[in-house]
Subunit: 444 residues, 2 copies
C-alpha cells in the first residue's frame, strides 16, 4: 500500500498523472475475445486445408538480423517500411516485414537433412511502416505457404490449387481471380526482345508493378522517361495486350513454354476458371525469378490483392552453397477478412460457454467443484460465480455472458441430491441427479 503510494507520488511529482491512452499503436489492432475467436476460426479453416495437402507448420523469431532483409526484400520495404533497432550488443535487428527470408534461412540450415520436397507453412505477424488504410495495416498476420524442391511446374500448380481450395473452404472461390505471369518471361521480353539494359529493365518492372495505382498518362510519361520508345515500346504494348493463346507464337522460347504448360496443368487440376495470364503482374519482392501471381476479388467492392507469391530460385543460396528452388505465397488476414465480410461468408458463432453453475452459498460452491471438474474434463466450458451474492445476481451474470444452461445448487439441492438445471433459451427447469447433467449438456 505505502510502497505503491510512493510510486504514485513519484509519478505525480514528475507530472505524469494524466491517463495513458487506451488506443493501440496506430495501424495495429487489439484482438478482443470476439475478434480473436474470428481470427482463430479463419486460420483454423486455413490450417485444415493446408495440412490436408501435407504442409507442416513452422515458426521463427519476431526479430531477425537486418541483413536477412537487406539482400533481397526490395528497396521500398527495406528503406522506407522496416521497423528496426539496435540491441544492447550493437546488433542491427529488424521486426520481420515478411516471412520468406526466415524460411530460406531455416531451410538453408537443414538443407541436406530435410527430405524433399519441403512443404511448410506458417502464420506469422508481420510489420511494415505504412499509412494505415483499408486492407493495409502496420501489423498483420499472414499465412505463408511454401514448397521447396520438386518439379517447378507441378509445385507451382499445387500452390495455386491449394490457394483456390482455401477459398473454396470459405465458400468464396467464385469471386477469386488469380493473375499469373512469369518473371523469366518478363526478363526475356524486357532484355532480349526490347533490348533494355539491366538497370532500365529493373526500373521498368517496378513501374509496371505500380501501374494500377496511377493514371494511364502518368504511366506512359514515366515509361517515356525511362527511354523506352519506338520498337521497344511497341513490343511492350504487344506484351501487355497478349492472351495466353498467342504467347508462344509472339515470344517463342522456354519462358513462354513454361507458362503455357503451367496454365494447362492448372486447367487439368480443375482450377482453370480461377486463373488467367496477366503480363503486368510483377510482385514487389526482388527475389522472384519464375512464375509470379496475384489474386484479386473480382467483385468491384473489394478490389485489393488477396494473396500473391511466386518462385524464388536463388533465395536459399543467400545462406547456403546448396541451391534449392522454392515457391510460395502469402495471404493476409486483413484482406481475407474484408473479403469474407464483403461476401457474407463469416459465421455466426454460438455462445462460447456451455453452462453456468450458480451457487447459493460458499458451501454449495465448494460442493459443486468435483462435478464441475468432471464437466470441464469432458470438454465443457463452465463458469462458476466469483461472488457469493444472491442467485438472482448470478442468473443476471449468466445472461450477460449468454450462457445457455444454468445449474443451480443450494442447501435444498445438496440435501435432495437433485440439482436444478435451467435451459435459458426455453426458460424450462428440471431437477436432475448431478451425475446425469453432463450427459444432458453433452447431447444438447
Amino acid at each position: 500500500m505505502t510502497h505503491h503510494l510512493s510510486h504514485f507520488v513519484r509519478r505525480l511529482k514528475i507530472g505524469e498523472m494524466s491517463l495513458l491512452s487506451t488506443s493501440p499503436y496506430k495501424g495495429t489492432r487489439d484482438f478482443f475475445p470476439s475478434d480473436k475467436r474470428l481470427h482463430n476460426w479463419m486460420f483454423d479453416q486455413i490450417r485444415s486445408v493446408v495440412q490436408g495437402f501435407g504442409y507442416l507448420e513452422y515458426d521463427g523469431p519476431m526479430l531477425e538480423p537486418f541483413d536477412v532483409y537487406a539482400a533481397k526484400t526490395g528497396e521500398e520495404i527495406v528503406n522506407q517500411q522496416l521497423y528496426w533497432l539496435m540491441d544492447k550488443g550493437d546488433r542491427k535487428l529488424a521486426v520481420r516485414p515478411e516471412m520468406t527470408p526466415t524460411l530460406a534461412r531455416m531451410v538453408a540450415s537443414k538443407v541436406n537433412e530435410e527430405p524433399k520436397p519441403i512443404r511448410w507453412f506458417s502464420v506469422p505477424n508481420l510489420w511494415r511502416y505504412e499509412r494505415p488504410q483499408r486492407g493495409r495495416l502496420r501489423e498483420h498476420w499472414q499465412l505463408n505457404v511454401d514448397v521447396l524442391g520438386g518439379e517447378t511446374r507441378l509445385a507451382d500448380a499445387e500452390l495455386i490449387q491449394l490457394a483456390v481450395e482455401i477459398f473454396r473452404k470459405f465458400g468464396g472461390e467464385e469471386h477469386l481471380q488469380i493473375r499469373v505471369n512469369s518473371r523469366r518471361l518478363v526478363n526475356h521480353v524486357f532484355s532480349k526482345v526490347m533490348g533494355l539494359s539491366d538497370d532500365v529493365a529493373y526500373k521498368l518492372s517496378k513501374l509496371v508493378d505500380a501501374k494500377e495505382k496511377m493514371p494511364a498518362e502518368q504511366f506512359s510519361a514515366q515509361v517515356h522517361e525511362l527511354g523506352v520508345a519506338g520498337e521497344a515500346l511497341k513490343s511492350l504494348d504487344a506484351f501487355f495486350g497478349l492472351k495466353i493463346e498467342n504467347l508462344l507464337e509472339t515470344f517463342a522460347g522456354e519462358a513462354s513454354q513454361e507458362l503455357v504448360d503451367l496454365m494447362q496443368t492448372l486447367k487439368n487440376l480443375g482450377v482453370g476458371e480461377q486463373v488467367r495470364f496477366d503480363p503486368t503482374i510483377m510482385r514487389g519482392m526482388d527475389y522472384y525469378t519464375g512464375v509470379v501471381f496475384e489474386a484479386f476479388d473480382i467483385s468491384p467492392d473489394n478490389n485489393r490483392a488477396l494473396f500473391g507469391g511466386g518462385r524464388y530460385d536463388n533465395l536459399v543460396s543467400l545462406f547456403s552453397k546448396t541451391e534449392l528452388s522454392g515457391a510460395g505465397f502469402g495471404l493476409g488476414d486483413v484482406t481475407l477478412q474484408n473479403f469474407l465480410e464483403t461476401h457474407k461468408l463469416m459465421p455466426e458463432f454460438p455462445s462460447f460457454y456451455d453452462v453456468y453453475c450458480a451457487c447459493a452459498d460458499e458451501k454449495s460452491w465448494q460442493a459443486v467443484q468435483n462435478e464441475v471438474k468432471a464437466w470441464r474434463e469432458a470438454g465443457l466450458k463452465v463458469l462458476v460465480p466469483l461472488q457469493m451474492g444472491a442467485l438472482k445476481a448470478q442468473f443476471k451474470e449468466a445472461n450477460r455472458f449468454a450462457v445457455p444452461y444454468v445449474v443451480v445448487v443450494g442447501e435444498q439441492e445438496l440435501e435432495s441430491g437433485q440439482w436444478s438445471l435451467k435451459n435459458m433459451a426455453k426458460g424450462t427447469q428440471e431437477a436432475v441427479e448431478p451425475k446425469k447433467i453432463l450427459e444432458i449438456l453433452k447431447s444438447s
Copy 2:
C-alpha cells in the same frame, strides 16, 4: 535472369558475397515443424484447460508505446531488458516484455461495457534482453491468464486452481509447489511493523526478490547496508521463519486474515497439497498489490520458477478513471518444456501424414485428383508426388516422410478401377475400389 544477375553483381561489387548466417538471433528459436508440433500440442493442452474455466482468448500488438511499460513494469526490465525503437514518426515503441500492461490497456478501453468478472487469456511471445541460459531466452511464449472483477479471494483461488489443473492435464501436478505470499502483508510488515521508509521498504523488497540468487552472507550484508538492524531485523527474521498457522497471532490484521482465508479456500478446492505460504516471494513487477505467487518444480533437476503472478489492483487505473481489481499469472513455454522433458511427460507423436498417393505418370496424377480432394475434405493429410519419376523413387519419398499408407495408381489401376493400397508398416498390399479407400484409411 539478367535482372537477378545485376543484383548479384551489385552485391559482389560491395563485397557482400559471403553467405549470411543460418542461425537465428541469439536467445531466440527457430521452430522447425517437429518443434512447432510440440509447441502447438503444449498450448492446445493448456487452451483446453483454460477454456474449460470459461476464459476467453485475446491478443494485442507486438509493439506498444514505451510509456505503457515505463509506469509500472519495474526498473530492471524497463532500463536494462527492453527492446525499443523510434518509429519514423518519432514515437518511442517497445517490443512487449510482458502482456499485463496490454491487457490493462484493453480492459480499460471497454471497462464499462464488458460484463464482469472478465476472464481472459492470451499466448503472446515476449522479448527481454537477457543473457540466454537454461529456461531463459530473449524471445519466449507465455500463457497469460487474468481475471478482473469478482471477490478477490475467490478469483485468486480460481487462478491457482486453474494453474494446478494445467499441470494435472500434463500429468505433472505431483511435482508442483506454488509458494504464496501477499504484497499487502509484506508492506504491513516492512512499513508498520519494521517502521521502514517507503524507499527502504521498496529496496528491501527488491533485495528479497533476489535472495535465492545470492549467498546468505551477501544477503545479510546488503540488508545491513539498507540500515535494517535491531528490532526491525528481528521482525524480518521472524517474518521469514513464519508458518501459515502462526501468521495471524504474529502479525494480526486484514492482510494476514486475507492470506489465511485464501489458503483455506485453496485447501477446500483440493489443491492444498500444491500450495504453501512463503514470505520471501515478492515477484519482480512493481504493480502487484495483493497476493503474489510463484510455482516451482520440487524435483532438484529443474529448480527454475515455472509460473508466477499475483493481484494488481491499480493497473487498469493507469488508463481509466474506473478502478477494477485484477489478478493473473504467466507460464512460459521454455520452463514448461524443460519441466515436461524432466518428468518424461512429452508425447510420442504418430506420423503427421495419412497417405501418399503414388502416380506412375502424369495421366494418373491427374486422374487421382478428385479422390485426393475427397480424402483431404474428410480430414486426411495426403501427399502427392511433385516429380513424375519412377514409382520406386516415390515409395522412397513416402518412406522418408514416414507416411503409413501408399496408394499406387498407374495405367493398369486406371483400367481395372482397382487401386493398390499398401500398408507400409506391415508391408501388405491390396487392390481396392477408389471409393472404398477413404473408409479404410479413416478406420485405420
